[in-house]
Symmetry: C2
Subunit: 653 residues, 2 copies
């Protein structure tokens, strides 16, 4: 028998899940198959070292790696992405490697649900009618008589029309619903037929996608998905109450094919691998979904709708639409407005007739994450000039108000999402989300959830750069300055700054920020700043003209606004004008799911927004180069920051 | 090796088609598999004897039958439905058994096509805007630039909106079209992108179901299908020109499960065999389609739309909708208005995204064949009181005008469709469609097409009864009177009347009308008459109030109106008020296919028509019993017929 035919059991602890895999499968792949989620940032490239697990029984084939310490090796630690199964295995997943439930806490707004028939956006006063894209309607039908001999289907449509005001002409059902209708109605043992119909918006029509006996209106759920380049976030919502029940996130597994989507588009094109990219994101979504379902004791059939917000490229990957024209002048998407699809036809494992709605894009580089975010903050209803910035792997910038909106996009890189930074991580439990450094370089920090730190998330990284700058540990160029403190130390790869010692960390090793990390973060903030500056200049506006700034992204639950300015990510605008709104892309997906009004508003925003191309604008590169300093090469742009820093450091005088 | 594993080649002449089948397959099944069409009325029950074929080489297993003459047996004739394959076979199909092309001639109206943007109904002045449910639109798009960077999908929708005035919001495409769009557009080598989009009406939306390079607007075809209880007729139409290209019909293979649909519903329910009934009708349609495609050198992908008209039960069978409630008080259909479906999901082999539209029903016993027919004759626009009668296996009667319409249905049986009558046949080539009998009982007749007679179709049978009555060969009760003529002769089964001698017939045997045939035809005409009488009475109207009568059905291309009254199928109404309109059900399907206006009108008619139940009306049975005579028991109802007959026969004085 050939070697390829061997297969082995892999048992995971503490999950107590077992799976049979072929010899040679990686432990990470086996874990994915078993729906056991393991931290992994690099997507199996053996560079992040986040997927450490312990072999309790059995043996694996594993290449040498410097990402495991001698002590770890002695204790049978392996990198799950590198180790290949060569026997039956018992694997235990240490705490720092586990992806556990409820890591991203639901904010109070998110759990609010419906108040007086309204659902709430990300800002006070921004609210939309609670009227989900897919809704369950309880109906009581009169059984037919010789005098009222309307067929079952028209009887059902008449009842929906009377209750919901949807014209019978705009209502329809697929063949399967028609086939099941007579039996469903006649299950009723009472003198009235009591059923619940689930109706989904489909363009100008409303499709009856499900019927069942009795009143099940409270038992309808939907999924809002933020399909990010680096991070995928899924939120489980009750459609009737509007309440968010749970949330779950993971790094986008497509990262193994490139950090930004341009790299992935090139990969897809060169290798003819578009379908691989799609399968990868679908697997991620199905994985998150299975966690949410298990944790909330729901079945996949219970999910009656999905809304997806994401940038244009991510949506193209999701649907297997040709993305190659996105990266070639004149930068054309296949579609901005995606028709309503069945989630099932993409491979998403929910009720087979449930629709999937994509939030519409503005252009190849400004997607539904931005139009959804703009809706969630009510940008299109603002009286005054507003700036809306969503900091993800791309930094998108929108400027405008209820009269006009212009937008652009800059490639910021994933560092503020915790990727491409040695000890970076998503804003989930164990992440340092706030950090300060005293003059003696002693540290204070705040961790999401309880327990010891596992890494640093976006807001913590931003704080770190600002604090290093204030404390004098780094200079204008972001270079670590070797001084007396043992926190700044030399390694083979250059200087690094010690944040948490091994003894205080769950990972069992020192947590640091490296010189390379700092440079990555500076490039990210410079991309954002220069996008804002270029857009303002194009519109002949100054930073002081901006009355409100809304900053969005998966930083954490808190963002220190002064630090955002201190590092020069934003121009100097009075901090009371700046508001951090969290993950506005997810909010856009959530609000669209719960409100046809909100979804219509997103479409309206997508139609109205004017796209401004940075790539064809030579000013952008000039601005970017000038912004690659802390806070900026030009002191006049950041007078108050220079003033603050000058008090301590002569270099800023 | 077990016997079941043998398989044999069966080669059919003159078609020169070969197929491999399992041992034990009937020759009829093999022929169906090979797409070789053989006459068969009884659907394999060995009662009609129409499926005679000749075994040229090889041998079959065949039970004894009286339907083959000793001479035929000597010449290796077999019944294809009874003979089972037990070796390789060479089968030749004699002319009378062949179903050949173009048997039902297209009338001049049907081939008219579009005049001044209008298509024509069955009566002068009845016309509808030529605007097919599915249409091909030639578009010339400007390729995108940095200034006009609309995505491909929105660019396509914009072009359709500009050309056709369809709002972009009402236009959508499925995922497959989206996926193929960028490549299709960029196949264009010119400075403008020239493509043809096929757009299908789907409720309030218009779905882009196909895109292709260049201008192919003239190359779009659709199929109109009359799904009758006894006969299925398919007509091939060019969507752009509105011209009917070809027509093909077959007996409905479901006949093996019952002559009328009530029997079939019972069969489906008792045997849990609804899907068998559906597969049967789909196979019939696919068979007819393959003949039309082959004869017109088209591919299945060329067919972009199907419209189906049929009674409510037939549509339920077609869609596998539960029909059992149709036959139980209060007689409820699953649906009257069927949503737009994909033909493909029913198993009809045309382009996979082509829609199937069903003409809407009024009630469980009045279907889309009637609403479509009413539209085709413009009944809902008539100023004066009209009577519309469609004579099929059910006889449906509509009374009304533009103010109101009432309808009912009576079970007439299939005898006027040529079924249940010894030498009956469909109105196709070789059928006697007109017949007269002189006083000496000598016959004259007219045959459809050229050549010798193969059987008698509906109009010929109607003429036969009238002529037998006039000539004195039958009495009031329809009994054949044994006289001096050798044409009326005694057999073991009773008297029969010789119509064509074996020498003059293609079948090689005498063509007769039997006593049983006559009784069947009288019952059929009585059902129609009593339905008309009951409906008139219910509305407190008299026959003389009716200004126009439209008679429809698959009789042939000609119907002798005086004979319709002579046999008492219709009350005595001046013959110049009576018009034969042919197959109005097919016309309804054809007009709907070619005109969104016509289809909208059918829906409007279906909503407005009031159904009148005969089964719960005791008058109907009384009327039926009185009508079971020629022309009727009551001379006062038929004064002119009595007067005419009295001149010759004392019994009518």
């Amino acid at each position: 028998m050939s070697k390829e035919n061997h297969s082995y059991k892999v048992h995971f602890l503490p999950h107590d899940r077992e799976i049979v895999v072929q010899e040679g499968t990686t432990v990470l792949e086996a874990a994915h198959e078993a729906n056991v989620y393991i931290s992994s940032i690099c997507g199996g490239m053996a560079t992040c070292g986040k997927c450490k697990v312990v072999v309790e029984e059995g043996h694996v084939e594993s290449p040498p790696t410097i990402l495991l310490s001698p002590e770890e090796l002695t204790n049978n630690y392996i990198l799950a992405c590198q180790a290949r199964v060569t026997s039956n295995l018992l694997i235990s997943i240490p705490p720092e490697t586990r992806i556990e439930g409820g890591q991203i806490l639901l904010s109070s707004e998110e759990t609010l649900g419906v108040t007086a028939g309204k659902i709430h956006g990300l800002l006070p006063g921004v609210e939309y009618k609670h009227d989900p894209l897919v809704k369950k309607i309880f109906l009581e039908l009169e059984p037919p008589t010789l005098d009222d001999n309307l067929p079952d289907y028209e009887r059902l449509k008449r009842a929906i029309m009377l209750k919901e005001g949807i014209s019978m002409e705009a209502l329809e059902a697929g063949l399967e619903i028609l086939k099941g209708l007579p039996a469903c109605l006649r299950q009723n043992r009472e003198d009235r037929w009591r059923i619940t119909a689930t109706v989904a918006q489909h363009g100008l029509m409303q499709e009856i996608i499900h019927i069942e006996l009795g009143d099940t209106t409270q038992a309808g759920w939907g999924l809002a998905v933020d399909v990010g380049t680096t991070t995928i976030v899924t939120e489980l919502l009750n459609l009737a109450t509007g309440k968010a029940l749970d949330i779950e996130a993971t790094y986008n597994s497509q990262m193994k094919w490139g950090e930004d989507y341009i790299q992935r588009i090139m990969y897809a094109q060169e290798r003819n691998a578009l379908e691989d990219l799609q399968k990868s994101v679908i697997k991620d979504i199905n994985g998150l979904l299975s966690i949410l379902l298990a944790r909330n004791h729901l079945k996949s059939e219970d999910i009656k709708a999905i809304t997806c917000s994401g940038n244009t490229a991510m949506i193209h990957f999701l649907l297997v639409l040709d993305p190659t024209l996105i990266r070639k002048e004149p930068y054309i998407a296949t579609a901005n407005f995606i028709p309503t699809l069945k989630a099932n036809e993409l491979g998403i494992k929910i009720y087979r007739h449930s629709p999937l709605y994509c939030l519409p894009s503005v252009a190849a580089y400004v997607g539904g994450d931005i139009t959804g975010g703009a809706m969630a903050i009510g940008l299109d209803q603002e009286e005054v000039l507003c700036l809306f910035i969503d900091i993800g792997t791309n930094g998108e910038v929108v400027l405008g108000n209820k009269e006009w909106m212009v937008c652009c996009s800059a490639s910021a890189g994933p560092s503020f999402e915790g990727s491409g930074v040695r000890h970076g991580m998503r804003a989930s439990s164990g992440a340092i989300e706030r950090l300060d450094i005293a003059e003696d370089l002693s540290l204070s920090y705040k961790i999401i959830g309880n327990g010891q730190p596992r890494g640093i998330c976006g807001s913590g990284l931003l704080d770190t750069i600002a604090a290093l700058l204030r404390s004098g540990a780094i200079n204008k160029s972001g270079k670590l300055l070797k001084g007396n403190s043992p926190r700044i130390r030399e390694t083979e790869e250059g200087l690094e700054f010690l944040i948490v010692e091994a003894a205080q960390s769950t990972t069992g090793s020192d947590m640091v920020i490296t010189q390379a990390d700092i440079q990555n973060l500076i490039r990210s903030k410079a991309a954002i700043y220069s996008a804002v500056a270029t857009l303002l200049e194009a519109m002949h506006l100054k930073p002081s003209d901006i009355q409100k700034v809304y900053l969005a992204g998966g930083f954490g639950s808190y963002l220190d606004i002064r630090n955002v300015i201190t590092i020069g990510m934003l121009p100097e605008i009075p901090t009371d004008r700046i508001h951090f709104v969290g993950n506005s892309s997810l909010a856009g997906a959530r609000l669209s799911l719960l409100s046809q009004e909100a979804f219509a508003r997103v479409k309206d925003i997508a139609s109205k927004m004017t796209y401004f191309d940075l790539m064809s604008n030579p000013r952008y590169m000039d601005e970017f180069i000038s912004a690659n300093f802390l806070p900026h090469t030009n002191p006049d742009e950041f007078p108050s920051v220079y003033q603050e820093l000058a008090a301590k450091h002569p270099a800023f005088r």
